[in-house]
Symmetry: C2
DNA sequence: CAGTAAATTGGCAGCGCTGCCAAAAAAACC
DNA sequence: GGTTTTTTTGGCAGCGCTGCCAATTTACTG
């Protein structure tokens, strides 16, 4: 079985066919340097005729610096990351950059391996989630000389560029909101915080403000595994069976919160009178539930867009806090 | 501002440092060909000491055929595609392949442009959604000589490999199920079918079976734009205001169906007594709603996995129908 | 129309690695 | 010890393109 025989038309063949030199073809194709309209037509005709497709591998090797941008993301199940990719990919495509990605599954060790594999492609930039990386990863990235963008967090020291928002502040504002609303018996339902460190930061900010407000966290339930609607449902059920007199519950994100919301719907627990629910992310689906979800909307797409923008413009190192928006909703 | 100065340690420098020839280093690093244990240690030590990261760009150019796999997908908002990528990326990573992607926004013309851009990277394979491509795209892909995988559909003629399931059959089975349940005044709420041709195929299969069952579609509402919970809600509202006596509604997918479900919850329309709701995709969230959503579960992750598997094993051209599973749920 | 400046063009040396081949070293055999 | 095999090695020519530089052509000046 012989499949992968690339029908290789090379630049040299195009040059030959057009009766011009190789560098002329190269110039025309990249629209760079000068050439007459007549030669351009001749070259383009030959390109068309032969069905020439430039070889970016060769081009990248010959020039300096590639137009690849490497994303090393924790997950594709958590909608956050597809959203970021979506924002970034539009900008990258416009600028003729190419996105490559791999998924760490929230494992820092795997992040290190994948980052190494990515660097082998000599990307223009490596885009990561958050600040928590192994020493090996940091050392490697630093040594690579390529741009580094840490996304979705600004609570820490950036290696180069950081674009995101403060998860800790989001946790604090969520707590402040619940306190303002008069809730005092507040619980928390979350997913594995050791892996999702940003969720951990929100939780810690949340507890901090609760403590300062003299209504310390009444109880919490942490589920192993990734966040999901199912886990949110299960988590709230467990939490309430242990501590039935809670008047509000903060969830690690909207998926979890929706699970809690559905649990209440199914059990006839009235929201927010009997129990308030507060999420994080501001997913569209939370706008469409019978009672809009109280949550914090994060600029996920915008994070991807700006991250990409800063890379393609080769902006200086900086930390950009895009902020977030508290959505009052009707569940808290 | 000078950033992108790749700290370039080359293979030649490693060879120098280790006191061996370049090809020896290359052999050791790829664990290919023969070399003594002693030289291997010397080489690895030098690699470690210099922090050498192989340059895959150069490696790919020198050898034949890359380990890049190009995904040209319609969207990242529709969870279907992140799911497919998720399945594929795990397999690709295991096999040291690298995924690159770009997003067409359901625009065939843009698909053509992006496919061309992808081919410039000389990928081992191009992974697309479905069978509907422009002539230009098809011609280009054929000429490229790289593997072509069409995913998420098997209703048509494959260019090379196809992995998915029959959308038309899914539509038919959905209709048959509703008929079996005794529904006769059936409506449809969908999103832009000209763009999402797979949703169009489902709709067409659905109508076909309804017609044969002597209960032709009573009414339908097509919303411009992408599928979303919000649009599902809006669509059902419009449909019911026009045709209030429907007893069941088929939605273009689960997002839309959830919108319909929420609409009913909000309006106090009892499900399924007053109105049945049927979706498509089998999203997890549909398992967690107070009434589990009646839908069809599609093997999205498995599609990505198998597609990747067939590429890395360089399997012969084939069409694999992974099937789907009807979930009775409680909304129909 | 010579003389100079400006616009085009081609040649060719790499970019960093792999693959092929021949040379050198080590192991096996008589 | 001399041969024949087998295992290890290094040299070097590309992979297809870009970037530099010099050569050629064309445009412009006085």
């Amino acid at each position: 079985m012989e499949f992968n025989h690339q029908a290789t038309v090379t630049l040299a063949e195009v040059a030959e066919a057009a009766g011009v030199g190789e560098s002329t073809v190269s110039r025309v194709l990249r629209n760079h340097g000068s050439f007459s309209g007549k030669t351009r037509d001749r070259v383009m005709a030959a390109v068309e005729r032969l069905g020439y497709v430039p070889n970016r591998i060769a081009g990248t090797l010959a020039s300096t610096g590639s137009r690849l941008v490497a994303f090393v993301i924790p997950s594709l199940s958590n909608i956050v990351f597809p959203d970021v990719l979506r924002g970034a990919s539009a900008i990258l495509e416009e600028n003729r950059y190419q996105a490559v990605f791999s998924v760490t599954d929230y494992d820092p060790k795997k992040e290190e391996e994948l980052a190494a594999a990515m660097l082998a492609w000599r990307p223009a930039a490596v885009m990561l989630a958050g600040y928590e990386h192994t020493d090996g990863t940091i050392k490697m990235l630093r040594a690579s000389g390529c741009r580094i963008v840490e996304m979705l967090d600004v609570d820490g020291d950036a290696l180069d560029i950081a674009v995101g928002f403060s998860n800790r502040a989001a946790g604090r504002e969520s707590a402040a909101f619940l306190l303002r609303r008069g809730y005092r018996r507040i619980g928390y339902v979350g997913h594995d915080l050791n892996r999702d460190t940003r969720a951990g930061k929100r939780f810690s900010g949340f507890c901090e403000t609760l403590g300062a407000g003299a209504a310390p966290l009444a109880d919490h339930e942490i589920l192993a595994g990734a966040s999901s609607v199912e886990n949110g449902k299960l988590g709230l059920e467990r939490l309430l069976s242990r501590t039935p007199d809670l008047d509000a519950v903060y969830f690690s994100n909207d998926d979890m919160a929706l699970g809690g919301y559905f649990h209440c719907l199914a059990r006839g627990i009235s929201i927010p009178a009997q129990l308030a629910i507060f999420g994080y992310n501001g997913l569209d689906i939370g706008r469409a539930t019978p009672q809009p979800l109280s949550t914090i909307r994060t600029p996920r797409v915008a994070t991807g867009q700006l991250a990409a923008q800063l890379v393609v413009t080769n902006a200086p190192p900086q930390v950009v806090d895009l902020g977030f928006e508290l959505i009052e909703g009707a569940t808290a």
